[in-house]
């Protein structure tokens, strides 16, 4: 098994602004030297934009470093290409892997594999062996568009394992695995590492790094702060977020939240907030909803917790109008919508806003300009060169301290930045109901704290906030929510 090393890696990104603006350079990585040993789980910690992804992308060949060298085993490279990386035993599993939707799991894994002939049965056998060794249960003949987020991750993992890597890079695997699976996956990873496999684990969950890794490296603003044996949780958290913003805002949010009983009467007229009655939906290949009745009172933060596969994602689609429900009704202070009337435009008119779990393709689109993404609800009928929509979008970027021209594509934003912009866009409409699905996905401690503060503020202004989440530790502090509902197999229990 080979050792991989990054020596004095520096990566400068240049962003071209609007016409006439200066070219800006940002150092995503600044003189980082790191060693990845075989047989170790090496966690890389840091907040959004600290350079974690850039670092592993350089190792896996997606990015070229501006300077520095990469040493894998005995070979030294200025930069590796993706195929060189794989050839030298470095495989990466992305958090949301790009799979070809119309192909089966086996076919997806075979894409790009060496050799002239694709021997499917033989490959399937090998894949099944790998799946068994890792305790992964996955039907290899399923088309990938029917897979859940966790299953897609497993499919990509199997693809990486089939190239028998020495070093396996995992990008935030925990955020899409359910609690039980999480434990099983890391146990399997541990076992394989004790046989000599090296693993790089990108994560923002400090507790996870402390529990599972042998070595921890902390990045902040492109600089390596610490690399060595895992420390205690507190020490690491202080290193990642020295200002302690996370704890400060958590307390603030808590103070603003007066705990009261459920003050929501279902079925009475003049309902405020969101009340849902007997909502049923049965989309193909997904967990159906059967007769959901619940409410999210105004001025409160309500959570619905459910494991992946519990129907939570079906509920998200139903509440955002992306899925036709078979029966039931939805009511806000502005309108009562029967199942047949529920559509995105009708819901928005009724004062409902939504931050979907799929921020990349549903809440936005990588090909869209940032300005176009932000002004979706505010474009004036005729667009002059200096219009209020543009002013609005510029203000959001300014408030979020994102230094980017409006014409730049959203694909240049980090996941955390995109999440914040989508939330700001939805909040700017002053909705009476705000539905958020997995709002904490991909956020570091600091951004998550800022999110909590924003939600608490919105609730204080009278918005009914509804959070759908599969993470039991979501928001760390259960008292953040005034009410927590639990969903299982399409019903609330």
């Amino acid at each position: 098994m080979k050792k991989a090393e990054l020596r004095h890696i520096r990566k400068i990104f240049e962003t071209r602004g609007d016409a006439g603006e200066e070219v800006r350079s940002v150092a995503a990585l600044d003189d980082v030297t790191l060693t990845f040993n075989p047989g170790e789980i090496h966690a890389i910690l840091g907040e959004n934009g600290a350079g974690k992804s850039t670092l592993v992308h350089i190792l896996s060949g997606l990015h070229r470093p501006t300077s520095g060298v990469i040493a894998i085993g005995d070979s030294v490279f200025n930069a590796v290409t993706p195929s060189q990386a794989i050839g030298n035993g470095i495989a990466m599993v992305h958090q949301r892997p790009l799979l070809c939707d119309e192909l089966t799991v086996t076919e997806n894994i075979l894409l790009g594999s060496p050799g002239f002939l694709a021997r499917k049965p033989k490959a399937a056998e090998k894949i099944r062996a790998a799946a068994d060794a890792w305790g992964i249960e996955l039907d290899l003949s399923r088309k990938t568009h029917t897979l859940s987020a966790a299953e897609r991750f497993y499919a990509a993992l199997l693809g990486a394992l089939l190239r028998s890597p020495d070093l396996l890079i995992l990008d935030e695997p925990a955020s899409i695995l359910a609690a039980g699976e999480h434990e099983r996956f890391f146990t399997a990873l541990r076992a394989h590492c004790s046989n000599g496999l090296g693993a790089v684990l990108i994560t923002h969950r400090v507790a996870e790094a402390v529990r599972w890794s042998d070595r921890v490296s902390v990045l902040r603003e492109g600089k390596l702060l610490y690399s060595g044996a895992a420390k205690t949780l507190d020490e690491l958290e202080r290193m990642i977020d020295p200002e302690g913003l996370a704890s400060r805002t958590a307390r603030l949010a808590l103070a603003s939240d007066q705990k009261e009983g459920q003050a929501c009467k279902i079925g009475t007229d003049g309902t405020a907030g969101l009340s849902v009655r007997d909502l049923s939906a049965s989309p193909p290949n997904r967990t159906p909803l059967s007769g959901l009745t619940f409410c999210a009172p105004p001025g409160k933060i309500t959570a619905i917790y459910g494991l992946p596969g519990s129907g939570l994602s079906t509920l998200e689609d139903a509440l955002s109008g992306m899925l036709r429900c078979t029966s039931g009704s939805l009511a806000t202070s502005a309108a009562v919508l029967e199942a047949s009337e529920v559509a995105p435009s009708a819901l928005r008119k009724a004062g409902l806003a939504c931050v979907p779990s799929n921020r990349t393709w549903r809440g936005s689109n990588p090909e869209l300009a940032i300005g176009h993404m932000l002004c979706a609800y505010r474009m004036p009928r005729f667009i002059s060169s200096k219009n209020e929509a543009e002013v609005f979008a510029k203000k959001i970027l300014e408030d979020e301290r994102i230094n980017a021209p409006l014409s730049r594509k959203t694909s240049t934003l980090s996941g955390g930045q995109l999440q914040r912009l989508v939330l700001d866009r939805e909040l700017a409409e002053k909705p009476s109901v705000l539905v958020l699905s997995e709002p904490e996905w991909g956020l570091d401690i600091k951004s998550a704290a800022a999110l909590r503060l924003k939600l608490a503020q919105a609730a204080q202004e009278g918005t009914a906030v509804l959070v759908l989440t599969d993470n039991p530790d979501s928001f760390r502090d259960p008292s953040f929510f005034s009410n927590v509902l639990v969903m299982e197999e399409g019903v609330l229990i």
């Binding site: 995105p344 393709w361 549903r362 090909e367 869209l368 009928r381 667009i383």
Partner: protein, 327 residues
């Protein structure tokens, strides 16, 4: 070498050639603005051929009805021009409607049943072309002439040449105007913004509550109507009668131009001019030297390959040069 000079400069050797080049470019501009419109809305309109051909036939037929001929005679003999103008406008409206309808059908099929507009627009067009061929060769043919064509339209309906003896007329400027208006619509109106967003980001557009299905239908219908406009001006400005095979690949050229222009109606203007130049150049080269027709087709193909490949290559070159300079 001689052939190459002929090739590059041929179109500018006389007013006749230059004017005809502009005329051809104008017609292509209408149609490729239409093709770009469909592409912008996220659809592919492969029915351009029939949309042009059918609209041209409709125009020629309206303008050769007895009452239209009478109105033209009235205008020609110094009488009121009103009736003639009425028929001219009617023909234009019906040409737009014919093209629009042929775009609307695949659009509606996609919105309602999810049928691929790629297939339906192509099949509809492919089925309609022989029908129109038959109509021109049979029931609608001008029996008095030796051509496979409808009767010629009256002088009063013909657009005056601005560069005699060539065919170049005001439709060229109207085409530039149409492309500009289309570009302004896309970049400067909310409807245009929604159309482009629905084209590039369909799921996001649906999530944001845009009427994505209606946008699909509107995009295809507008695309068809713009092709119809090309058919209309092909009759009143260029050929004055609908002859068999009038569209002769114009729909496909328009699609190629729209792709070269990267779906941008403003870029359609230079792209159409370039396309028309290369086409006229190869026609002239065939006539003036012993270049075979097929070899000019190869030259055309190579040029377009380079044009469409140019941008990414330029990007890479720039990156390489920059790195050199940095070192």
């Amino acid at each position: 070498m001689n052939a190459f000079a002929e090739f590059a400069l041929g179109p500018f050797s006389s007013l006749w050639h230059a004017g005809n080049l502009l005329d051809k470019a104008g017609l292509l501009m209408f149609a490729s603005t239409g093709a770009a419109f469909a592409l912008k809305s996220g659809t592919f309109n492969l029915g351009g051929e029939a949309q042009i051909y059918a609209s041209a036939l409709v125009t020629a037929m309206i303008l050769s009805t007895p009452s239209a001929v009478a109105a033209a005679e009235l205008a020609g003999s110094g009488g009121s021009a009103g009736p003639a103008l009425f028929f001219f406008a009617l023909a234009c409206a019906l040409a737009l409607a014919a093209g629009g309808l042929l775009g609307f059908i695949p659009g509606e099929l996609k919105a309602r049943f999810g049928a691929s507009e790629l297939l339906t627009s192509f099949l509809l067009s492919a089925a309609l072309l022989p029908v129109i061929d038959f109509l021109i060769a049979g029931p609608l043919r001008d029996e008095g002439k030796n051509l496979l064509a409808t009767p010629a339209i009256a002088d009063a309906f013909r657009m005056r040449s601005l560069l005699p003896p060539s065919l170049m007329n005001a439709s060229f400027f109207l085409a530039c105007g149409t492309a500009t208006v289309a570009a302004l619509f896309l970049s400067r109106t909310r409807a245009g913004y929604r159309l482009s967003v629905a084209g590039t980001a369909p799921e996001f557009a649906r999530f944001a509550g845009f009427p994505v299905k209606r946008i699909t239908v509107a995009g295809m219908t507008a695309s068809g109507a713009l092709h119809g406009l090309a058919g209309f001006f092909a009759i009143v400005g260029t050929w004055f009668m609908c002859h068999q095979g009038l569209s002769s690949g114009m729909g496909w050229s328009a699609l190629a131009i729209a792709l070269i222009a990267r779906h941008n109606p403003l870029a359609v203007i230079p792209a159409s001019l370039l396309y028309a130049w290369i086409e006229s150049a190869s026609d002239i080269a065939v006539l003036s030297s012993r270049v075979s027709f097929d070899s000019t087709a190869i030259v055309q193909g190579v040029i377009f390959l380079f044009i469409s490949a140019k941008l990414p290559i330029a990007g890479q070159l720039r990156a390489v040069l920059k790195k050199r300079r940095a070192r």
